[in-house]
């Protein structure tokens, strides 16, 4: 539990808190800012102004009702499928690594990777949109030959922390993996 200031690649503040359940089991949680009411307001305003404009030209009330429905459904979809509040990484030495991301609506998506499948966990560089960023990723071992890497699982995909945060997570992960 440290309160060092972290930001994501766009400079927004994010919080990293990690709790050690035991010497070889640690859970990191990166939580990005909640969905801001202001943005929601702006979005709805835009939709409704547009709807009113249409309504003004075609006197059709269906437009308005459909606009309302569209906003509601859009918001639901957004918080249910798009907006991720927390992303957590549970590292259990000699058992495996569990990635879980919880959406704004409370939906959780979890997946567990066994230690036998994991080759290594590294920090990597990639070109993302119009920047070049660091990201943390798990290298999966190729079953055919153990030296090769079959695929790469990027971590903290929605909230993209900056290097200092990644280094912190990376070090303790390496510590646990090397210990077990």
């Amino acid at each position: 539990m440290d309160n060092e200031k972290y930001t994501d690649i766009n400079g927004k503040a994010i919080a990293l808190n990690y709790q050690r359940h035991s010497s070889f089991c640690t859970e990191f949680t990166v939580s990005s800012p909640k969905v801001s009411i202001g943005k929601v307001m702006v979005a709805t305003c835009f939709v409704w102004i547009f709807a009113y404009a249409v309504f003004f030209f075609t006197d059709n009330t269906a437009v308005l009702s459909s606009a309302i429905i569209i906003t509601l459904i859009g918001m639901m979809l957004y918080i249910h499928f798009v907006k991720i509040d927390h992303e957590s990484l549970l590292v259990i030495g000699s058992l495996g690594i569990q990635l879980s991301s919880s959406y704004a609506s409370g939906r959780e998506h979890t997946s567990f990777i066994e230690m036998s499948k994991i080759k290594d966990i590294v920090i990597n560089e990639a070109i993302y949109m119009h920047q070049i960023i660091y990201y943390l990723c798990i290298l999966l071992r190729d079953p055919a030959d153990t030296s090769a890497v079959s695929s790469v699982v990027p971590l903290f995909q929605s909230s993209k922390p900056r290097l200092n945060c990644l280094v912190k997570v990376y070090k303790s992960c390496q510590e646990i993996i090397s210990k077990c």
Partner: protein, 574 residues
């Protein structure tokens, strides 16, 4: 080294005894299956375990001791050590619960005992729900084909162990015997008895069906039916295709030997369920069709419809033979083509007249085929559609061939026009100097073709439109048939009602993290996504080939290749 103990939830409150389970080979992981309570006679325990090992290939052994806090505590410690000498193991677990704490405390005795180390927090207790783990199937299903794969991963081994040790769980805690176990108790034996009865009953039925199928396949395989025209026809008629697929499905269902692997079983179940669904839908359809003269009305409506189509076509041709949409086309060629097609339509109408009296009977018997399943009715419908729009198909083929030839000629002549030629050996365009007369004739032909192209192109366009309509209609029919054939209804219902049966993986929750005690995790099933379920379990059918893209289809249409709804050529049926 971290010691992992998979501990069944149902044994949390069991009173003290022996831990029965298995050490996973090569890993320091213990899977606890059951607890044998005191008092017991060690020899009987050993013998019982032998017997269990015989029934299930799981090497069950005594892992250690389990002590539940109770009033009489004296000398328990020494007693436990004695136990470890009674059941000689290289590693001996001592799991015990204190009154106050929620967590367990665990000791690992290494034998020979001089190198005995004990560290509290190097132990993970993973609590699992024995029933769910036993019933669940871990995905992705490991394929035996994959070579070079090292031994299955820890979780798989653990699942395997639990799943294969049902015989251990069959022992009820109420039936009297020398041993008292506590593990997951399957309640509702009666249901399972019913299932057994059904299984017994199904065997002769399966045999009978299998025999019938064998007879049927013999009939189909007789060489009389394999003469070339018949075979060609049957490969084109979708009802025949559907028949063959159904036969294959029935064969899989009624194969006498029971399903061994999970996939096989699921496949069978899916096919069976889809069969039943299909037949029931078909019966519904029949019951709707054969009431209040619907059939007769349909028959009487069908012929005029076909007539109207032909008449529309005639009008269309007349329109084309004029100056359609202000396009000026070569009159002579226009007249020729128009007459040609009109004659075809005339032929067609007379054919329909010939067909008229028998139409109702055909429909009546065709409708009966729905008793075999809705899919049959649908594919029959698509066949009838194909037959009734045969003239459109003919028009399309003529138009396409003409257009194709013309385009080809134009391409090569255009090369000549530019003084190039296509080098067949090198597969590239070479420059070449032609003689005067070659150039002259080439240019003449080029001009003629160029000026005649719009006429042909227009005819081709119109008839392609018609053709595409028909193909799309047939495509919809095929699609629905395909859906019914291949939809994994059983797997999907399993996923919906008992999510743990099809597990994509597991997820862990940290139960207690009091420093000092061992780490306690709760293992839960991660249900498979619906999309994956469908992908994994959909029965492979003939429309599972990779479709060629829309771009390719457009290209084909442009250069005037033929598109078909039935074979692998088309993109419509999926």
């Amino acid at each position: 080294m971290v010691l992992k103990v998979f501990f069944p939830q149902c044994c949390n409150r069991a009173d003290s005894g022996l831990l029965v389970g298995r050490w996973l080979p090569g890993r320091d992981t213990a899977v606890v299956l059951a607890v044998i309570h005191y008092p017991f006679i060690p020899s009987t325990v050993k013998q019982y375990l032998q017997q269990i090992q015989g029934q299930s290939q799981v090497p069950v052994e005594v892992l250690g001791s389990w002590s539940m806090p109770s009033e009489k505590q004296e000398g328990l410690d020494s007693f436990l050590r004695d136990l470890s000498t009674i059941f000689p193991q290289t590693r001996w677990l001592q799991v015990s619960r204190e009154m106050g704490q929620t967590g367990f405390s665990c000791q690992l005795l290494q034998l020979p005992p001089e190198k005995e180390e004990e560290e509290e927090d190097r132990v993970i207790f993973v609590h699992y729900d024995q029933r769910k783990v036993m019933l669940s199937q871990l995905h992705p299903l490991e394929s035996p084909a994959l070579p070079g794969c090292e031994e299955p991963s820890e979780l798989r081994q653990m699942f395997w162990t639990v799943a294969h040790s049902e015989p251990l769980f069959l022992k009820d805690k109420y039936d009297e015997g020398p041993l008292k176990l506590s593990h997951w108790q399957s309640e509702g034996r009666e249901a399972s008895i019913l299932v057994e009865l059904m299984k017994l009953a199904s065997t002769p039925l399966c045999l009978l069906l299998a025999w019938l199928l064998a007879a049927w396949s013999w009939v189909t395989s007789t060489r009389l039916l394999n003469l070339s025209p018949l075979r060609f026809l049957s490969s084109k008629l979708s009802s025949c295709v559907q028949l063959s697929y159904r036969t294959a499905h029935m064969k899989t269902v009624t194969s006498p030997h029971t399903a061994t692997s999970h996939t096989h079983f699921m496949r069978k179940a899916n096919v069976l369920v889809s069969l039943l669904l299909d037949v029931s839908l078909g019966l519904l359809f029949i019951s709707w069709l054969y009431r209040e003269e619907r059939l007769a009305r349909l028959a009487s409506a069908l012929l005029p419809a076909a007539d109207r189509v032909s008449r529309e076509l005639e009008d269309l041709l007349q329109w084309l033979m004029g100056a359609p949409a202000g396009l000026k086309m070569n009159r002579a060629l226009d007249q020729v083509l128009g007459r040609f097609f009109l004659y075809h339509i005339h032929l067609w109408i007379s054919y329909l007249r010939l067909l008229a009296p028998f139409l109702e009977v055909i429909l009546w018997y065709g409708g009966l085929s729905a008793a075999l399943g809705l899919t049959f009715a649908l594919s029959l419908l698509s066949d009838m559609l194909a037959l009734l729009t045969f003239h459109i198909y003919c028009f399309y083929v003529y138009g396409a061939r003409l257009y194709c030839m013309k385009l080809y000629g134009l391409c090569s002549l255009w090369r000549l026009f530019r003084g190039r030629k296509w080098n067949v050996l090198r597969q590239r365009v070479d420059s070449c100097c032609y003689d005067l007369d070659q150039l002259f004739i080439g240019t003449l032909l080029f001009t003629i073709l160029l000026f005649l192209l719009p006429t042909t192109a227009l005819y081709y366009l119109v008839f392609t439109m018609l053709r595409l309509m028909v193909v799309a209609l047939q495509g919809v029919l095929h699609l629905s048939v395909d859906l019914i054939n291949s939809f994994p209804l059983f797997a999907l219902s399993l996923r919906v009602f008992t999510p743990y049966r099809l597990a994509e993986g597991v997820k862990f929750r940290v139960l207690s993290d009091e420093p000092g005690t061992a780490l306690h995790l709760l293992m839960e099933m991660n249900a498979l996504g619906l999309g994956e379920v469908v992908q994994t379990y959909r029965t492979p059918t003939y429309s599972c080939y990779p479709p060629d893209s829309w771009g390719a289809l457009l290209r084909k249409l442009f250069v005037g290749e033929l598109v078909y709804p039935w074979k692998h050529k088309t993109t419509k049926t999926d």
